[in-house]
Amino acid sequence: MFTNLVFIILFMIGFYALVMKTNLIKNVIGLNLMEAAVFFWVISFSDIGGEVAIHKMGEEMTKFNDPVPQALTLTGIVIGASTAALLLTLIIELNKFSGTIDREKIEGLND
């Protein structure tokens, strides 16, 4: 319940930044916040009170946290970083031609 509430709050903050802010870099930041909210939800939801999913030498351990969502989250974090870099590159290139990063002031997009 707590986890769901935190997820909704963080996701809505990111969505607000994505929709309401006209600064393009703030939009990328909102996208990052939404990604982080989803990852936090997955990790916190799959925590059942076990140990870190790493065996220790010479001990028989069976009560672990689920390793599959953690692996998926790890994949997602790296992909999120590279997509953010690509988006920022596009913003830089857009800024070279238009001179602004406000999406309402770019000419030719909304007329």
Binding site: F2, V6, I9, L10, I13, G14, Y16, A17, K21, N23, I25, K26, V28, I29, G30, N32, L33, A36, F39, F40, I43, S44, D47, G50, E51, V52, I54, N65, Q70, T73, L74, I77, V78, A81, A84, A85, L88, T89, I91, I92, N95, S98, G99, T100, I101, K105
Partner: protein, 80 residues
């Protein structure tokens, strides 16, 4: 354990709000870095060590450098 998690989550939501609220991009990026750092501590609390290491290295380190290098070459034009 639960008290620590609640304190960290309060700071997490606060830093997310601050990252969205200000108009200047530099403050937003610093708060995004703080957000990633708190998220690292939360991952460690939830016993996900690999994800915590990845989030610390990528979220707080590399993302900040990339965002900084992006905003330092953006020119604000005459229409300010």
């Amino acid at each position: 354990m639960a008290v620590l998690e609640i304190i960290l989550v309060v700071f997490l939501v606060f830093s997310a709000l601050m990252a969205v609220r200000f108009d200047e991009e530099l403050i937003s990026i610093i708060f995004l870095s703080i957000f990633s750092l708190i998220l690292t501590a939360l991952y460690l609390l939830h016993k996900a060590a690999d994800v915590a290491l990845a989030e610390a290295v990528i979220g707080a380190g590399l993302n900040t450098a990339i965002f900084m290098s992006a905003i330092s070459q953006i020119r604000h034009g005459d229409s300010d």
